[in-house]
Symmetry: C2
Subunit: 203 residues, 2 copies
Amino acid sequence: MNARGDTTRKRLIDATTALVREVGYANVRTRSIAVAAGVAEGTLYRHFADKRSLFYAAVLDRNAPIVAATATLPSLAGRGTVLENLLEVIRKLAQLQEDLLPLEQAMIADPTLAPLRGERVQMPLEGPPHDIARYLAAEQSLGRVRAECDPTLAAISLLAMLFGLAVHPLLGNDLAKSELLGASVSYFVDGVGASATQPKLLA
Amino acid sequence: MNARGDTTRKRLIDATTALVREVGYANVRTRSIAVAAGVAEGTLYRHFADKRSLFYAAVLDRNAPIVAATATLPSLAGRGTVLENLLEVIRKLAQLQEDLLPLEQAMIADPTLAPLRGERVQMPLEGPPHDIARYLAAEQSLGRVRAECDPTLAAISLLAMLFGLAVHPLLGNDLAKSELLGASVSYFVDGVGASATQPKLLA
């Protein structure tokens, strides 16, 4: 695909994300997407087989910076505090997730968007749960996370909390900066953190 | 409304919940709801002004047992353990929420379902956050929850985690019984709970 094709593709993806946010996936027509992207509807179909393919391309596109955001977390083990490290990455995820949320919300609400059998769709949280679990395991080996904590379950719990805060209709206004997000992460860290009475290998 | 009218109303609400789960709110037609409920479409419109009103009636209906489930939680303060009390109520909520989830998911994904200005809609989590916050405050006064914990923020964090676990596309299979839910609640309780080194007024 040439540079012009890439630009068109990007504009179609951006228009899809914006329209899904405004009117919901089921109410979006490919015609409106083409209009919003400033291309002919035939051009849309040269890039994407159908509305669903376009939707999944948008999910992958919006997911990429989120996956990148947690990649370096495991290397921070033993530096700063567990709370600082997790809070920084969770706030960044909350901020980046704003672009992805309308798409994730469409996915959980519209049965026609469920991945088909055998279909390989990289889901939004695939990178982050693994990175956070690796980080927690590394902190655990340094004595800064309780020995009885399961890093994988803990990482999923933390991300589920972030996701719940972000998608709940009553919450989620500027979540990245909210007192609520800070409180939630600090309860979590108090929960998984090595208590003061447990030995710390690194002080 | 007579008993027969109540039955019809209930059947329309049940059909709405089932169809929203199957095909998504935006893809449901009132005609299909009437067919599924075994009534004429004109009968539907004698009970409800439009699809949206029917949807909100279903939300209220499915919400009622969830609100009831947490009502007695505050009275349990000081009995059993904080973990046992919270885990029991959270598992019950996870189970009851199965009926409400497709409706909540539709609400978060479809901008046309956002409450209108001035519209009073009792949201699914209105009872539970207050009940859980009151419970945590009562445990705090007994020294079984950390003094620095904000009961309201903590209650919202816990419910957000439950909501996130329930709605995330990769999770949520039989959540009420899952190891993941148990682990999440126990991290939360470790996080907000009075640590072993803090004084407990009741042992």
